[in-house]
Amino acid sequence: MKSKAKHYSRIKCQQWGSPVYYISFLLFKTKFHPVSGILLEMAVNGAVTWLRRAGEMDGYGLSASDTEEVHVLAVDDSQVDRKVIERLLKITSCKVTAVDSGRRALQFLGLDDEKEASNGFDGLKVDLIITDYCMPGMTGYELLKKVKESSVFREIPVVIMSSENVITRIDRCLEEGAEDFIVKPVKLSDVKRIIDCMMTDLREGGGGRRGINKRKLRDDGEDRSSSSPPSTLSSSSSSTAPCSPTTVDSPTRRLKMTSFEEHVFSNKK
Protein backbone atom coordinates (compact mmCIF):
# COMPACT_ATOMS: atom_id res chain seq x y z
CA MET A 1 0.00 0.00 0.00
CA LYS A 2 2.86 2.33 0.82
CA SER A 3 4.50 2.08 -2.61
CA LYS A 4 1.15 2.59 -4.34
CA ALA A 5 0.55 5.69 -2.22
CA LYS A 6 3.96 7.12 -3.12
CA HIS A 7 3.29 6.61 -6.82
CA TYR A 8 -0.13 8.15 -6.53
CA SER A 9 1.12 11.19 -4.64
CA ARG A 10 3.72 11.84 -7.33
CA ILE A 11 1.09 11.84 -10.05
CA LYS A 12 -1.13 14.16 -8.08
CA CYS A 13 1.70 16.64 -7.50
CA GLN A 14 2.28 17.05 -11.18
CA GLN A 15 -1.28 18.19 -11.50
CA TRP A 16 -1.26 20.11 -8.22
CA GLY A 17 -4.12 17.86 -7.27
CA SER A 18 -5.95 18.17 -4.00
CA PRO A 19 -4.49 16.17 -1.15
CA VAL A 20 -8.06 15.57 -0.11
CA TYR A 21 -8.53 13.25 -3.05
CA TYR A 22 -5.50 11.27 -2.02
CA ILE A 23 -6.46 11.07 1.61
CA SER A 24 -9.96 9.86 0.81
CA PHE A 25 -8.40 7.14 -1.32
CA LEU A 26 -6.35 6.05 1.67
CA LEU A 27 -9.35 6.13 3.96
CA PHE A 28 -11.24 3.95 1.53
CA LYS A 29 -8.40 1.44 1.46
CA THR A 30 -8.11 1.21 5.24
CA LYS A 31 -11.82 1.14 5.90
CA PHE A 32 -12.00 -2.53 5.23
CA HIS A 33 -8.76 -3.41 6.98
CA PRO A 34 -8.67 -4.48 10.57
CA VAL A 35 -5.74 -2.07 10.93
CA SER A 36 -5.49 0.47 13.65
CA GLY A 37 -5.87 4.17 13.07
CA ILE A 38 -2.16 4.64 13.84
CA LEU A 39 -1.13 3.13 10.53
CA LEU A 40 -3.55 5.37 8.66
CA GLU A 41 -2.16 8.43 10.44
CA MET A 42 1.41 7.47 9.52
CA ALA A 43 0.44 6.92 5.92
CA VAL A 44 -1.37 10.25 5.68
CA ASN A 45 1.53 12.12 7.28
CA GLY A 46 3.91 10.40 4.93
CA ALA A 47 1.75 11.30 1.95
CA VAL A 48 1.56 14.96 2.91
CA THR A 49 5.35 15.07 3.22
CA TRP A 50 5.75 13.42 -0.19
CA LEU A 51 3.33 15.91 -1.68
CA ARG A 52 5.17 18.85 -0.21
CA ARG A 53 8.61 17.58 -1.22
CA ALA A 54 7.54 16.78 -4.75
CA GLY A 55 5.97 20.22 -5.00
CA GLU A 56 9.23 21.87 -4.01
CA MET A 57 11.19 19.91 -6.57
CA ASP A 58 8.74 20.69 -9.32
CA GLY A 59 9.23 23.24 -12.07
CA TYR A 60 12.84 24.35 -12.45
CA GLY A 61 12.86 27.91 -13.69
CA LEU A 62 9.11 28.47 -13.45
CA SER A 63 7.43 30.27 -10.59
CA ALA A 64 5.51 28.16 -8.12
CA SER A 65 2.20 29.64 -9.19
CA ASP A 66 2.77 29.00 -12.86
CA THR A 67 2.74 25.30 -13.52
CA GLU A 68 1.79 25.69 -17.18
CA GLU A 69 4.70 25.21 -19.49
CA VAL A 70 5.78 28.03 -21.76
CA HIS A 71 4.74 27.09 -25.28
CA VAL A 72 7.19 28.19 -27.93
CA LEU A 73 6.61 28.18 -31.66
CA ALA A 74 9.99 27.70 -33.34
CA VAL A 75 10.33 28.50 -37.03
CA ASP A 76 13.37 27.47 -39.09
CA ASP A 77 13.76 26.02 -42.57
CA SER A 78 16.94 24.15 -41.57
CA GLN A 79 16.26 20.76 -40.03
CA VAL A 80 19.58 20.80 -38.16
CA ASP A 81 18.70 24.13 -36.57
CA ARG A 82 15.14 23.02 -35.82
CA LYS A 83 16.43 20.01 -33.96
CA VAL A 84 18.90 22.08 -31.96
CA ILE A 85 16.46 24.84 -31.04
CA GLU A 86 13.85 22.28 -30.09
CA ARG A 87 16.27 20.60 -27.70
CA LEU A 88 17.47 23.91 -26.27
CA LEU A 89 13.89 24.91 -25.54
CA LYS A 90 12.91 21.55 -24.07
CA ILE A 91 15.91 21.64 -21.75
CA THR A 92 14.67 25.03 -20.60
CA SER A 93 11.35 23.33 -19.72
CA CYS A 94 9.38 24.70 -22.61
CA LYS A 95 6.80 22.99 -24.74
CA VAL A 96 7.87 23.29 -28.38
CA THR A 97 6.15 23.27 -31.73
CA ALA A 98 8.73 23.42 -34.52
CA VAL A 99 7.72 24.32 -38.06
CA ASP A 100 9.77 24.75 -41.20
CA SER A 101 8.34 27.95 -42.68
CA GLY A 102 6.65 31.25 -41.93
CA ARG A 103 3.60 30.05 -43.81
CA ARG A 104 3.25 27.02 -41.56
CA ALA A 105 3.76 29.21 -38.52
CA LEU A 106 0.85 31.39 -39.60
CA GLN A 107 -1.24 28.30 -40.29
CA PHE A 108 -0.50 27.02 -36.82
CA LEU A 109 -1.54 30.32 -35.30
CA GLY A 110 -4.63 30.40 -37.47
CA LEU A 111 -3.49 33.56 -39.19
CA ASP A 112 -3.26 32.34 -42.76
CA ASP A 113 -5.78 33.29 -45.46
CA GLU A 114 -5.50 36.82 -44.07
CA LYS A 115 -8.29 35.92 -41.68
CA GLU A 116 -8.00 36.90 -38.07
CA ALA A 117 -8.07 33.99 -35.69
CA SER A 118 -11.32 33.64 -33.84
CA ASN A 119 -11.35 34.53 -30.18
CA GLY A 120 -12.22 31.02 -29.20
CA PHE A 121 -8.84 29.78 -30.37
CA ASP A 122 -7.14 28.90 -27.11
CA GLY A 123 -6.26 25.25 -27.44
CA LEU A 124 -2.87 25.97 -28.98
CA LYS A 125 -1.85 29.06 -27.04
CA VAL A 126 1.60 30.26 -28.04
CA ASP A 127 3.65 32.19 -25.49
CA LEU A 128 6.68 32.96 -27.63
CA ILE A 129 7.69 32.80 -31.29
CA ILE A 130 11.33 32.25 -32.14
CA THR A 131 12.11 32.45 -35.83
CA ASP A 132 15.01 32.33 -38.24
CA TYR A 133 15.45 35.45 -40.32
CA CYS A 134 16.60 33.99 -43.64
CA MET A 135 14.00 31.60 -44.92
CA PRO A 136 12.77 30.92 -48.45
CA GLY A 137 9.27 32.21 -49.14
CA MET A 138 8.38 34.23 -46.08
CA THR A 139 11.34 35.63 -44.14
CA GLY A 140 11.37 35.87 -40.37
CA TYR A 141 10.99 39.60 -40.70
CA GLU A 142 7.83 39.19 -42.76
CA LEU A 143 6.49 36.71 -40.22
CA LEU A 144 7.26 39.19 -37.45
CA LYS A 145 5.33 41.88 -39.28
CA LYS A 146 2.31 39.64 -39.82
CA VAL A 147 2.24 38.71 -36.14
CA LYS A 148 2.55 42.30 -34.99
CA GLU A 149 -0.18 43.43 -37.40
CA SER A 150 -2.61 40.94 -35.89
CA SER A 151 -4.77 42.27 -33.10
CA VAL A 152 -5.03 38.77 -31.65
CA PHE A 153 -1.36 37.77 -31.73
CA ARG A 154 0.67 40.97 -31.57
CA GLU A 155 1.24 40.63 -27.85
CA ILE A 156 3.17 37.40 -28.41
CA PRO A 157 6.87 38.16 -28.09
CA VAL A 158 8.85 37.36 -31.23
CA VAL A 159 12.58 36.63 -31.19
CA ILE A 160 14.61 36.63 -34.40
CA MET A 161 17.62 34.36 -35.00
CA SER A 162 20.16 35.04 -37.70
CA SER A 163 23.64 33.96 -38.68
CA GLU A 164 24.31 37.44 -40.01
CA ASN A 165 25.27 39.96 -37.37
CA VAL A 166 24.11 43.01 -39.32
CA ILE A 167 23.22 46.06 -37.25
CA THR A 168 20.71 47.42 -39.78
CA ARG A 169 18.94 44.07 -39.81
CA ILE A 170 18.86 43.93 -36.02
CA ASP A 171 17.53 47.49 -35.84
CA ARG A 172 14.87 46.80 -38.42
CA CYS A 173 13.59 43.80 -36.48
CA LEU A 174 13.61 45.55 -33.13
CA GLU A 175 11.80 48.49 -34.68
CA GLU A 176 9.15 46.16 -36.04
CA GLY A 177 8.56 44.90 -32.51
CA ALA A 178 10.91 41.96 -32.07
CA GLU A 179 11.76 41.33 -28.43
CA ASP A 180 15.29 40.20 -29.09
CA PHE A 181 17.72 39.15 -31.77
CA ILE A 182 19.95 36.11 -31.37
CA VAL A 183 23.05 35.63 -33.49
CA LYS A 184 23.44 32.01 -34.58
CA PRO A 185 24.67 29.49 -33.66
CA VAL A 186 22.17 29.54 -30.80
CA LYS A 187 23.51 28.53 -27.42
CA LEU A 188 21.78 27.41 -24.24
CA SER A 189 22.65 30.72 -22.55
CA ASP A 190 20.78 32.60 -25.31
CA VAL A 191 17.63 30.55 -24.82
CA LYS A 192 17.84 30.72 -21.03
CA ARG A 193 18.13 34.47 -21.20
CA ILE A 194 15.11 34.79 -23.48
CA ILE A 195 12.94 32.55 -21.33
CA ASP A 196 14.08 34.20 -18.09
CA CYS A 197 13.26 37.61 -19.53
CA MET A 198 9.87 36.37 -20.60
CA MET A 199 9.06 34.92 -17.20
CA THR A 200 10.20 38.13 -15.47
CA ASP A 201 8.06 40.08 -17.85
CA LEU A 202 5.02 37.88 -17.15
CA ARG A 203 5.52 38.18 -13.40
CA GLU A 204 5.79 41.94 -13.65
CA GLY A 205 2.59 42.06 -15.65
CA GLY A 206 4.30 42.96 -18.90
CA GLY A 207 4.92 46.61 -18.04
CA GLY A 208 8.08 48.52 -18.67
CA ARG A 209 9.34 46.47 -21.60
CA ARG A 210 10.48 48.47 -24.55
CA GLY A 211 8.62 46.14 -26.90
CA ILE A 212 5.33 46.70 -25.21
CA ASN A 213 6.02 50.43 -25.04
CA LYS A 214 6.44 50.50 -28.78
CA ARG A 215 3.20 48.68 -29.31
CA LYS A 216 1.47 51.06 -26.97
CA LEU A 217 2.69 53.93 -29.13
CA ARG A 218 0.87 52.38 -32.06
CA ASP A 219 -2.30 51.89 -30.03
CA ASP A 220 -2.32 55.60 -29.26
CA GLY A 221 -2.67 56.23 -32.94
CA GLU A 222 0.84 57.56 -33.47
CA ASP A 223 2.22 57.28 -36.94
CA ARG A 224 4.60 54.33 -36.95
CA SER A 225 7.08 56.02 -39.20
CA SER A 226 7.39 58.92 -36.83
CA SER A 227 7.94 56.86 -33.71
CA SER A 228 11.50 57.21 -32.54
CA PRO A 229 13.92 54.59 -33.76
CA PRO A 230 14.86 52.09 -31.10
CA SER A 231 17.74 53.38 -29.08
CA THR A 232 17.93 50.03 -27.36
CA LEU A 233 21.36 49.11 -28.63
CA SER A 234 23.13 52.34 -27.85
CA SER A 235 21.30 54.00 -24.98
CA SER A 236 21.48 53.03 -21.35
CA SER A 237 18.88 50.60 -20.24
CA SER A 238 18.41 51.90 -16.73
CA SER A 239 14.85 52.94 -17.39
CA THR A 240 13.68 49.58 -18.63
CA ALA A 241 13.01 46.18 -17.09
CA PRO A 242 15.80 44.42 -15.17
CA CYS A 243 16.48 41.85 -17.81
CA SER A 244 16.75 44.29 -20.70
CA PRO A 245 20.42 45.16 -20.15
CA THR A 246 21.23 41.70 -21.34
CA THR A 247 18.71 42.00 -24.15
CA VAL A 248 20.24 45.29 -25.24
CA ASP A 249 23.70 43.79 -25.08
CA SER A 250 22.82 40.60 -26.85
CA PRO A 251 23.91 41.25 -30.43
CA THR A 252 26.90 43.32 -29.37
CA ARG A 253 27.86 40.86 -26.68
CA ARG A 254 27.93 38.10 -29.23
CA LEU A 255 30.23 40.24 -31.39
CA LYS A 256 32.83 40.06 -28.65
CA MET A 257 32.49 36.35 -28.10
CA THR A 258 34.30 35.30 -31.21
CA SER A 259 37.46 33.72 -29.92
CA PHE A 260 37.47 30.02 -29.18
CA GLU A 261 39.01 30.56 -25.77
CA GLU A 262 36.16 32.70 -24.64
CA HIS A 263 33.71 30.00 -25.61
CA VAL A 264 35.80 27.40 -23.89
CA PHE A 265 36.05 29.28 -20.65
CA SER A 266 32.37 30.10 -20.62
CA ASN A 267 31.56 26.43 -21.19
CA LYS A 268 33.88 25.16 -18.52
CA LYS A 269 31.99 23.20 -15.85
Partner: protein, 154 residues
Protein backbone atom coordinates in the same frame (compact mmCIF):
# COMPACT_ATOMS: atom_id res chain seq x y z
CA UNK B 1 40.33 -2.80 -24.48
CA UNK B 2 38.87 -1.92 -21.12
CA UNK B 3 36.46 0.95 -20.58
CA UNK B 4 38.96 3.32 -18.93
CA UNK B 5 41.32 2.98 -21.88
CA UNK B 6 38.51 3.58 -24.36
CA UNK B 7 37.41 6.66 -22.46
CA UNK B 8 40.94 8.08 -22.47
CA UNK B 9 41.22 7.39 -26.17
CA UNK B 10 37.94 9.26 -26.77
CA UNK B 11 39.02 12.24 -24.70
CA UNK B 12 42.35 12.48 -26.55
CA UNK B 13 40.70 12.11 -29.92
CA UNK B 14 38.10 14.78 -29.17
CA UNK B 15 40.82 17.16 -27.96
CA UNK B 16 42.79 16.82 -31.19
CA UNK B 17 39.67 17.54 -33.24
CA UNK B 18 39.30 20.81 -31.36
CA UNK B 19 42.97 21.67 -31.57
CA UNK B 20 43.07 21.01 -35.29
CA UNK B 21 40.05 23.25 -35.78
CA UNK B 22 37.69 20.61 -37.08
CA UNK B 23 35.25 21.31 -34.27
CA UNK B 24 34.52 24.42 -32.26
CA UNK B 25 32.66 25.36 -29.08
CA UNK B 26 29.25 24.79 -30.66
CA UNK B 27 29.97 21.06 -30.73
CA UNK B 28 30.55 21.25 -26.97
CA UNK B 29 27.12 22.84 -26.67
CA UNK B 30 25.56 19.89 -28.45
CA UNK B 31 27.35 17.44 -26.19
CA UNK B 32 26.04 19.31 -23.17
CA UNK B 33 22.50 18.97 -24.50
CA UNK B 34 22.80 15.19 -24.45
CA UNK B 35 21.78 13.34 -21.30
CA UNK B 36 20.08 10.13 -20.15
CA UNK B 37 16.72 11.36 -21.40
CA UNK B 38 18.23 12.16 -24.81
CA UNK B 39 21.20 9.81 -25.14
CA UNK B 40 21.35 9.96 -28.94
CA UNK B 41 21.00 13.68 -29.41
CA UNK B 42 24.45 14.28 -30.88
CA UNK B 43 24.18 11.31 -33.23
CA UNK B 44 20.79 12.52 -34.43
CA UNK B 45 21.90 16.08 -35.09
CA UNK B 46 25.09 14.97 -36.79
CA UNK B 47 23.11 12.58 -39.00
CA UNK B 48 20.81 15.40 -40.04
CA UNK B 49 23.89 17.46 -40.83
CA UNK B 50 25.27 14.68 -43.03
CA UNK B 51 21.97 14.34 -44.92
CA UNK B 52 21.62 18.08 -45.36
CA UNK B 53 25.20 18.55 -46.48
CA UNK B 54 25.23 15.80 -49.01
CA UNK B 55 22.12 17.15 -50.65
CA UNK B 56 23.53 20.68 -50.66
CA UNK B 57 26.85 19.56 -52.13
CA UNK B 58 24.96 17.80 -54.91
CA UNK B 59 22.86 20.88 -55.56
CA UNK B 60 26.02 22.99 -55.62
CA UNK B 61 27.75 20.69 -58.11
CA UNK B 62 24.73 20.89 -60.38
CA UNK B 63 24.34 24.64 -60.05
CA UNK B 64 28.00 25.26 -60.89
CA UNK B 65 27.79 22.88 -63.82
CA UNK B 66 25.27 25.03 -65.67
CA UNK B 67 26.28 27.00 -68.78
CA UNK B 68 24.91 30.16 -67.11
CA UNK B 69 25.65 29.85 -63.44
CA UNK B 70 23.00 31.35 -61.19
CA UNK B 71 25.24 32.75 -58.46
CA UNK B 72 22.29 33.77 -56.34
CA UNK B 73 21.19 30.18 -56.17
CA UNK B 74 24.73 28.99 -55.48
CA UNK B 75 25.04 31.54 -52.72
CA UNK B 76 21.75 30.42 -51.18
CA UNK B 77 22.97 26.81 -51.01
CA UNK B 78 26.31 27.83 -49.52
CA UNK B 79 24.50 30.00 -46.98
CA UNK B 80 22.48 26.99 -45.89
CA UNK B 81 25.55 24.80 -45.62
CA UNK B 82 27.36 27.49 -43.66
CA UNK B 83 24.38 27.66 -41.29
CA UNK B 84 24.15 23.98 -40.55
CA UNK B 85 27.90 23.50 -40.22
CA UNK B 86 27.99 26.42 -37.82
CA UNK B 87 25.13 24.95 -35.79
CA UNK B 88 26.96 21.71 -35.16
CA UNK B 89 30.40 23.24 -34.72
CA UNK B 90 32.01 22.01 -37.94
CA UNK B 91 34.36 24.98 -37.99
CA UNK B 92 36.48 24.23 -41.04
CA UNK B 93 33.43 23.55 -43.21
CA UNK B 94 31.89 26.79 -42.00
CA UNK B 95 35.04 28.75 -42.81
CA UNK B 96 35.27 27.19 -46.26
CA UNK B 97 31.67 28.30 -46.85
CA UNK B 98 32.47 31.86 -45.82
CA UNK B 99 35.27 32.01 -48.39
CA UNK B 100 32.95 30.41 -50.94
CA UNK B 101 30.30 33.12 -50.44
CA UNK B 102 32.83 35.86 -51.03
CA UNK B 103 33.64 34.44 -54.44
CA UNK B 104 29.95 33.99 -55.23
CA UNK B 105 29.57 37.71 -54.68
CA UNK B 106 32.35 38.32 -57.19
CA UNK B 107 30.67 35.88 -59.56
CA UNK B 108 34.05 34.29 -60.12
CA UNK B 109 33.38 30.89 -61.71
CA UNK B 110 36.90 29.47 -61.40
CA UNK B 111 37.26 30.49 -57.80
CA UNK B 112 33.83 29.16 -56.88
CA UNK B 113 34.62 25.80 -58.46
CA UNK B 114 37.79 25.65 -56.37
CA UNK B 115 35.77 26.60 -53.31
CA UNK B 116 33.36 23.80 -53.95
CA UNK B 117 36.25 21.35 -54.00
CA UNK B 118 37.56 22.82 -50.78
CA UNK B 119 34.18 22.60 -49.04
CA UNK B 120 33.74 19.01 -50.20
CA UNK B 121 37.20 18.15 -48.93
CA UNK B 122 36.54 19.69 -45.52
CA UNK B 123 33.14 18.08 -45.30
CA UNK B 124 34.41 14.56 -45.97
CA UNK B 125 37.23 15.07 -43.50
CA UNK B 126 34.92 16.16 -40.67
CA UNK B 127 32.42 13.47 -41.58
CA UNK B 128 35.13 10.87 -41.16
CA UNK B 129 36.28 12.38 -37.86
CA UNK B 130 32.78 12.61 -36.45
CA UNK B 131 31.95 9.07 -37.43
CA UNK B 132 35.09 7.89 -35.66
CA UNK B 133 34.24 9.91 -32.58
CA UNK B 134 30.69 8.64 -32.43
CA UNK B 135 31.88 5.08 -32.95
CA UNK B 136 34.25 5.42 -29.99
CA UNK B 137 31.37 6.67 -27.88
CA UNK B 138 29.19 3.78 -28.97
CA UNK B 139 31.87 1.29 -28.00
CA UNK B 140 32.17 2.80 -24.55
CA UNK B 141 28.42 2.69 -23.98
CA UNK B 142 28.24 -0.89 -25.30
CA UNK B 143 30.94 -1.88 -22.82
CA UNK B 144 28.83 -0.42 -20.01
CA UNK B 145 30.84 2.76 -19.58
CA UNK B 146 29.71 6.37 -19.66
CA UNK B 147 30.84 9.00 -22.12
CA UNK B 148 33.26 11.37 -20.37
CA UNK B 149 32.43 15.07 -20.64
CA UNK B 150 34.78 17.02 -22.85
CA UNK B 151 36.97 19.09 -20.56
CA UNK B 152 38.71 21.84 -22.45
CA UNK B 153 40.99 23.08 -19.69
CA UNK B 154 44.23 23.35 -21.63
Amino acid sequence: MEVGQMQRRLVDYTKTLFMEGFLDAQFLQLQQLQDESNPDFVVEVVSLFFDDSEKLLNDLSMALDQPNVDFKKVDAHVHQLKGSSSSIGAQRVKNACIAFRNFCEEQNIDATLRCLQQVKHEYYLVKNKLETLLRLEQQIVAAGGSIPATEMGF
